[in-house]
Amino acid sequence: MGERVFITGVGMITAIGDDVQQNLEHLLTARSGLGVTDYVDTIHRNILPVAEVKHSDVELAAMAGLPDNKGYSRTTLLGLVAIQEALRNAGIADPQEVPTGLVNATTVGGMVETERHYFTLTDPAREGEMMPVADLLDCGDCSQRIADTVHIDEFVTTISTACSSSANALMLGARMIKQGLLSRAVCGGTEALTRFTINGFNSLKNTDRQPCRPFDQQRNGLNLGEGAAYLVLESESLVQQRGATVLAELTGYANTNEAFHATSPSPEGDGALAAMGEAIEMGGLTPQDVQYINVHGTATLTNDASEGKALQRLFGKAVPPFSSTKPFTGHTLAAAGAVEAIFAVLAIREQVIFPNLNFSEKMEELDIIPQTTLRHAPIQHVLSNSFGFGGNNASLVISKF
C-alpha cells in the first residue's frame, strides 16, 4: 500500500554521544553512558545510576545554535540538537521546499522546569503575573519550538504513549507518507531526566541500583536515561526526485495493545508477540528474514520475561541474535524508539550486532541469551521493539536498501 518509505537522515544526542558518530563509537567499543546525575536535584543521585547527557542547558542551547536557553526547556534543547543533525545528515537546508511534517514524542514535556518552579507557579499571591515557564509543561510546547526553530510548518504533532512514543511517531510519519499527506516527515522523540520520572519509576520499585542487566537472571530493574533522536523519512518519489542518499528502509511496523495491565506486560508476551509478528508480516517478511533484534530489554523483572517468551514463541528454536542497548543509553522513554531505530540503521550500515552489556546469567524461564559481544554479521533486516505503560506495544522493521 502506498509509497515505500526511506530513512534519509538521522540525528541524535544521548549519554553516549552528542551525535550519531559518537554514539556509534561507544557502541562499538562497549562504553556505557551510565553514571551519576549532575543536573537533577534528587536524593537518589548517588543511588540510582542514570544515563545523562553531560551538557548544561546553556551548553545545549549553544550546540543548537541559539543565543541562549531562555524559554527553552531541556527537552526542547535536546530535541533541537538531534533534529538539526538529522536534517543536515539528510542534506536538507530548507525543510519548507517540500511538504514536511514533524511528528515528535515526549512523555513529560517540560517537566524539568515545571518541577523546579511548581510552587511559585501555583502560589496564589502571584496569580496573573506573567511567567514564561507556565507554558513549558505542555507536551506540545517542545514540538512547536523545535518546529519553529528549524522552520517546519506544514504539519506538527506530538505523541505520548509512554515508552513506545517515538516508535509511534515514526509509524505516523510513515503512514502519512504512504497515504499521500506528506512527502517527508521528521519523526522521533526527546526526553530529559527529571526528578518526577526518577521517582516515578522508583515508586514502582523497578529501578536498579546497579547498571541494568537486561535478560539476566539477576536483573533488578531499569536505569533511566535522557536524549533525543530523529529520523528523516521520505517517500520513494521524493528520494528519486532530489537524489537523496537512502540509509535504510522502514519496511514494517505495528502498534498493538496488550490490554493486560496498566504497567505490566502479560507473562507470556502476547502483546509483544502480536506487535513483532504484524511488523514482520507488513514488511512482507517471515521471522527467518530477521538477522538482529534490538529488544526493548529494560531489565525489569516483567519486561524481559515477557519479551523473551514472545521471542521464543515467534522465532521458535531459531531466535536471531538480540541485544538491549539500554545499558548504553539508559531507558530514554519517549526517545527510546527513535534512538534504537537509529541503532538499527547503524547495525545495517556497519553490518554489526551491538552487545548487550552486563549479562552473565541466563534467565531460568528462558532458553535464550542475548548477544554479549560485538559481532560482525550480514544484516538485512532489523527488528526494533518498544513497549510501554498502558499496554502500548510497538515494533519496527528496518531494512537494508
Binding site: E115, Q144, N257
Partner: protein, 355 residues
C-alpha cells in the same frame, strides 16, 4: 485528501448536562468563577468499582465517555482507539509533584505517576474492552484532538471499519493558577453565559471528555459525516483566508452552501480577530459558539464537533443554551467548524449530514 468517515455514536461529559440527557430540554449550566467544571455523572455501573477507586477525574470522564460511546454504537472492539489530550490527568501529575516534595522523594505511591502518563486513559479503555488493536495518544495542545482525528481518518481510509476517537482534558485549581501566568483567563470574573459579550483579554477555563465511534461506512443511523479537516500553525491573516478558501474549494463548497459556522469564539480580545476574519469570509452564514458552554481547553473542539453532530442529527439546536437573539439556520446539513488556540493552532473541520 478526502475521507469516508461517519459518526456512528458519540458521548460527551461536559459542563452541560450532556451525558445520557436530552440536550434539547436541559437547562443551560453556567458559572461566574471563570472555570466551567464538567457535570460528573454517577460512575458506578459505568466503571467497575475496583478500577474506580484509584481514578482521578480525567480518567473517569475519559473511560466513562468512551465506554458509553462504544455501548451506544454497538461496537465493543473498534479497530483502533485514538485520543487527544492536552494535559492528561493533571490531578495525578500535581499530586505526584507535591508528594515528591512532601515526602522528600521517599515512600511515594506509584498510582499518581502511572495515571499521569498521557496514554493512561487509552490503556484503560483497551483493558476494559480487551482491545488489542491500534492504540495511540496525541498531546499537542490545541491540536491534540485534531491530531487524533487525523490519525483516525488515516486508519479508516487504510481499511479499519471502526475507530474510537476521543478528546479529554480536566481543569484543576493549580492548572488555572499556572495558566494565569500566560494571561489565559479574564482578570474580571464574568458570567459564563455572557462570555461573548465580555470582550477583554483572556477567556474562561473549561473541561470535558468527548468520544466518537467513527466508521468508514455509513451504517444504519450515522449522526453525520466528517468530510475533512485543515490544520494551520500561526497563520498570517492572508494564509488563514487562503486556507479557508482552499478548504472550501477542495470540498466543492461555496460559502452559501454552509448552513452554520460553529466557532470557538471565546471573548478573548487578543485573538478575536481570527474569528471575525473567518465570519467575514462567510457573509450571511449564522454563527454559534460552543465555548460559553464548555469553556476553553486544549480539546474543546471535540465538544464543538459533538454539538454540531447532535444538531445535524436532530435537525435543530438546543436553543435554550444560546443567548437570546441568536440566529439559527433553517436546516442543518453542512456545518463548518473553526477553532483556534491562543492564536497559534487553528483548525477547520467540515461536517455534513450523512445521506
Amino acid at each position: 485528501m478526502k475521507f469516508q468517515c461517519y459518526i456512528q455514536s458519540s458521548c460527551a461529559i461536559s459542563p452541560q448536562h450532556t451525558f445520557q440527557q436530552d440536550i434539547f430540554s436541559e437547562a443551560l449550566q453556567t458559572t461566574d468563577t471563570n472555570m466551567l467544571q464538567a457535570w460528573q455523572p454517577s460512575y458506578a455501573g459505568l466503571i467497575p468499582p475496583n478500577s474506580l477507586r484509584r481514578m482521578s477525574k480525567a480518567l473517569k470522564m475519559g473511560l466513562a465517555a468512551a465506554s458509553q460511546c462504544l455501548a451506544e454504537g454497538g461496537i465493543a472492539n473498534p479497530g483502533a482507539i485514538i485520543t487527544g489530550t492536552g494535559k492528561g490527568s493533571l490531578q495525578d501529575m500535581e499530586k505526584f509533584i507535591k508528594d515528591i516534595q512532601t515526602y522528600h522523594e521517599t515512600a511515594l505511591n506509584p498510582t499518581q505517576f502511572i495515571q499521569s502518563t498521557f496514554n493512561a486513559v487509552n490503556g484503560l479503555i483497551a483493558l476494559q474492552q480487551q482491545n488489542t488493536q491500534y492504540n495511540n495518544t496525541f498531546v499537542h495542545r490545541g491540536l491534540s484532538f485534531e491530531s487524533a482525528l487525523l490519525d483516525a481518518l488515516l486508519q479508516l481510509s487504510a481499511g479499519k471499519h471502526h475507530v474510537l476517537l476521543g478528546g479529554f482534558d480536566e481543569v484543576t485549581p493549580d492548572q488555572f493558577q499556572i495558566k494565569s501566568h500566560s494571561g489565559w483567563w479574564k482578570q474580571e470574573k464574568i458570567h459564563s453565559a455572557a462570555l461573548l459579550q465580555h470582550l477583554s483579554p483572556g477567556t474562561i477555563a473549561g473541561e470535558g471528555a468527548v468520544f466518537f465511534l467513527l466508521a468508514n461506512q455509513p451504517g444504519d443511523h450515522p449522526a453525520a459525516s466528517i468530510e475533512g479537516m485543515k490544520l494551520l500553525h500561526k497563520p498570517s491573516s492572508h494564509k488563514l483566508d487562503t486556507a479557508l478558501q482552499q478548504f472550501l474549494d477542495e470540498h466543492a463548497l461555496q460559502p452559501g452552501h454552509i448552513d452554520l459556522l460553529m466557532s470557538g469564539r471565546n471573548g478573548d480580545s487578543n485573538y478575536q480577530h481570527f474569528y471575525d476574519q473567518v465570519a467575514q469570509a462567510l457573509p450571511g452564514i449564522p454563527e454559534v459558539s460552543f465555548k460559553p458552554l464548555c469553556g476553553e481547553y486544549d480539546t474543546a473542539h471535540a465538544f464543538g464537533l459533538w454539538l454540531a453532530a447532535q444538531m445535524i442529527k436532530a435537525g435543530k439546536a438546543p436553543q435554550q443554551w444560546f443567548p437570546a437573539g441568536t440566529v439559527f439556520p433553517k436546516a442543518y446539513r453542512t456545518v463548518l467548524l473553526y477553532n483556534q488556540y491562543y492564536g497559534e493552532q487553528h483548525a477547520f473541520i467540515l461536517l455534513k449530514k450523512a445521506l
